[in-house]
Amino acid sequence: MKLLPSPLVCRDAVELVSDYLDGTLSRRQRRRLEKHLAQCDACSAYLDQMRATIAASGTVGPEDLPSEVVEGLVNLFRQYRADE
């Protein structure tokens, strides 16, 4: 007889979310998590937050560099061109 996987509690479910979103959970783990998510609004909210966080990370774009950093590097560029 095959043992049924024990149901997840929230504390353990949240630790699977990142791998779940990356599609790297084993099929068994994925099923356990999906079963839990289907009946847990709080963990579903957690999943949504994580999904939104990752999406936002991908759209934050480059940081505004302090202009002196850009200027310093552009000066290096000019120097390099002049020395060439």
């Binding site: 709080a42 994580m50 560099l65």
Partner: protein, 199 residues
Amino acid sequence: MDDAELLKSLLGGDESAFSELVRRYHSTLVKVARYYVASAASAEDVAQDTWIAVLKGIEKFEGRSTFKTWLLRICVNRARTSGVKEHRSIPVDPNESGPTVSAHRFDQGGFWSDPPVPFTEAIDTRLDNTAVLNAVRDAIDALAEPQQAVVTLRDVEGLSTQEVAALLGLSEANVRVIVHRGRARVREIVEEAMKGSKI
């Protein structure tokens, strides 16, 4: 303009193409370098040296990898060398096996007692909202290494787990753990920020 077009202009000596690439990648280079070297100043030096190496090597760049990959590889090689000179050991997450959501948010049975405040609506419908994006950016900036470098490469620059692992010389399993912990921390910081502001 995409990187390949900027590169073409840069080969022709275009200064604005150079400054655009700097704007695009300098902060990522600094974060990646910081994983290896002992101080922020030293990471800044590595990033600067990387740009000089780019100028010196650009004519030899054969386009077999993307510009981004090539650039990051130069940066990692230099940072690694500097880190060795500084006798700095590579940081590991001290709580690597600990929980990513604080225990006090769950009851004794392991179910939420302080459930996450859904910011779905706020963040999903306002992805263009600068306040939200700034919260995420600040959260990534506040991450400790190794999470900062790994999350920046994986989620900001969009490298695959495999690419991050190869670049930093980590196992893919290790990258997954670090990404998981870093993302959880970013989510936590953003959640706090959303609670504070009335978005």
